[in-house]
């Protein structure tokens, strides 16, 4: 801003400052610089006259800067005198004069100490999260027992609605993805096994891999991303809007009303999706074996029967409900951990998906050890 907002004349211990132009938000930056320069002036000044007669406009920004100017001189022991202020702005100046000096916002302490403290806090929070999982698991068990005691209190309609969302609506995407995974495994297998002349072992690989591991893993990862995140977001939004508190005050147990139907829907839906997914993957594998590897469908079926047993199938299916439980518990715990802000809703949803996928994979590893040791 080229037009001066302040110009000074000094004689002896007396300093005269006159403001002019528009002391408004747009000019606040330029005005602040000039005010800082003016207050840092001659130490000999004892009296300051500020003439505001030629200031045409004044808003809160300008009023505060004028106040800061007078406070700056007063702090140095000068007597200040503001003249010529338009009558309209008197009320505004009175308002600004009563403002207490601002404290600077608390600045961060030692960066290193903060980092170390952050690491400690996140380690502690891992333990706390684990405890809250156990809590939720217990609460679900209690709610389940209570519902078994009086079956009529079970929210059957809600469970069916969730099953529709979690199971039925997920079928197309899950079948498509597992089908493609089956195709890719078969293609890679044929491509590499052909070098050893072991093409036909591709069928063994596809069968065992899909039924034991991949079918259930792909499905649960999809469900964690698709339904786990939805559970967390739904429950989190309900928590933010005090719907869960409302349920509690009406004498309902939120675990029984909201969480149990969701968990049971997952427990029913995930094994069905696992079965459908595994079949789609086997189908995709067979198709690629036929079209790309030249293995006739009859031979594919024949080899498949020899390669897999009922145990192979059971291993995959047994895991499915446990994984469903993990996804459900994680999603519900994270949903109830949402606090007031929209940012926390996003954070908890992210945490829900990441934790449930991680735990699903860890659980899969534990199952692998377990099944190996019992010879399944």
């Amino acid at each position: 801003m080229s037009d001066l907002l302040l110009h000074e004349s000094a004689d002896g211990g007396r300093l005269r400052i006159a403001g002019r132009g528009a002391w408004v938000a747009e000019n606040a930056d330029a005005l602040e610089a000039e005010i800082n320069a003016a207050t840092g002036g001659n130490a000999a000044t004892k009296h300051v006259d500020i003439d505001m007669g030629r200031v045409e406009q004044l808003d809160t920004f300008g009023a505060w800067l004028l106040e800061r100017l007078t406070r700056g001189f007063s702090a140095r022991g000068c007597e200040t005198n503001v003249t010529g202020l338009k009558e309209d702005y008197r009320a505004l100046m009175d308002e600004v004069r009563s403002v207490k000096p601002a404290q600077a916002p608390p600045r961060r302490g030692n960066a290193l100490a903060d980092t170390v403290a952050g690491v400690g806090k996140s380690v502690a929070s891992v333990g706390a999260t684990f405890v809250s999982f156990l809590n939720m698991l217990g609460a679900i068990a209690i709610a389940l027992l209570r519902v078994l005691g009086r079956p009529r209190s079970f929210r059957f309609a809600s469970m069916v609605h969730q099953l529709d969302n979690v199971g039925w609506r997920a079928v197309p995407i899950i079948v498509l993805i597992t089908f493609l995974i089956g195709c890719i495994i078969a293609q890679q297998g044929i491509f590499h096994f052909r070098k050893f002349g072991a093409d036909s072992y591709v069928v063994d690989m596809v069968g065992i891999l899909v039924l034991r591991e991949l079918g259930v893993l792909i499905v649960t990862i999809m469900v964690a991303g698709r339904s786990g995140s939805a559970y967390t977001a739904e429950l989190g939004a309900m928590k933010m809007r005090e719907e869960i508190d409302a349920l509690r005050t009406m004498g309902f147990d939120p675990v029984e009303v909201l969480i149990l139907p969701r968990i049971i829907a997952l427990l029913i839906g995930v094994p069905i999706l696992t079965f459908l997914g595994s079949m789609a993957a086997l189908y995709g594998g067979g198709l690629v074996c036929w079209l790309y590897g030249g293995i006739d469908p009859d031979i594919y079926m024949q080899r498949l029967k020899e390669a897999i047993s009922l145990d192979t199938f059971k291993v995959g299916m047994i895991k499915a409900p446990f994984m469903a439980l993990v996804i459900g518990v994680v999603a519900c715990v994270e949903g109830l951990a949402v606090k007031g802000s929209s940012e926390s809703l996003g954070m908890q949803t992210t945490a829900s998906v990441v934790e449930s996928i991680f735990l699903v994979i860890v659980l899969d590893g534990l199952f692998a050890i377990f099944f190996a040791s019992i010879g399944m």
């Binding site: 938000a25 930056d29 920004f61 009320a91 505004l92 403002v99 600077a104």
Partner: protein, 262 residues
Amino acid sequence: MAGRNGKEIVIEVRDVVVGFGSHVVLDHVNLDVYRGEILGFVGGSGAGKSVLMRTIIGLLPKRGGTIKVFGVDLAAASDVQRHAIERRWGVLFQQGALFSSLTVRENLQFPIREYLKLSPRLLDELVVAKLEMVGLDPSVLAKFPSELSGGMTKRVGLARALALDPEIVFLDEPTSGLDPIGAGEFDSLIATLQRTLGLTVFMVTHDLDSLHTVCDRIAVLADHKVIAAGTMETMLASPHPWLRAYFHGKRSRAIQPDTARA
């Protein structure tokens, strides 16, 4: 630009039609708001008070008519003009609409940072000044909106609406959800700020006390139109059945001329 009594019209609503689907909410509505007044805008629940407010500030599309703010037709204005005008008004939403992931300090600084380049020191000082103007202690600066009470949320919302020293402030039911004492304080706060900052206030409200104590003029929306606009005396004298029910009903005894105004 100059309307009745030579006062400048800052918001001019002419023949505005707004509807959703087949439901017409506002049917050829006309309204003037003069510079420096506090206009109370009343009407039954669901009559479309907030709809008109949201149409004026450009959140809802209109089917017909013109809305001029500071003499500029917003529908015909360029983006630059629109921005310049949006900077000259502030809006307090019914629920405060504070950004939940930002602290009070950041909420108040957000509009200022967006439009102006100021030093961090000046920003911090201004935020304290704005907060004290709306009657809050600087200790709430570090809090998040979810940690504030209803009344505090409204005050912070008002401070944010005032952050850029607007000329017009739109208030959507500013006193709803506040206790009578809090509502009364909020009313006098609005009156004080209107005087000190020379604001024009467009206030959607249901609060008969607010209408009586702070509003210079009242506009009434009923049957999809503004059926009356004028002072409290005009409202009380009107023979229109809705106005009689509203201003002479059981809950309005406090504002009857023979009691409070005696």
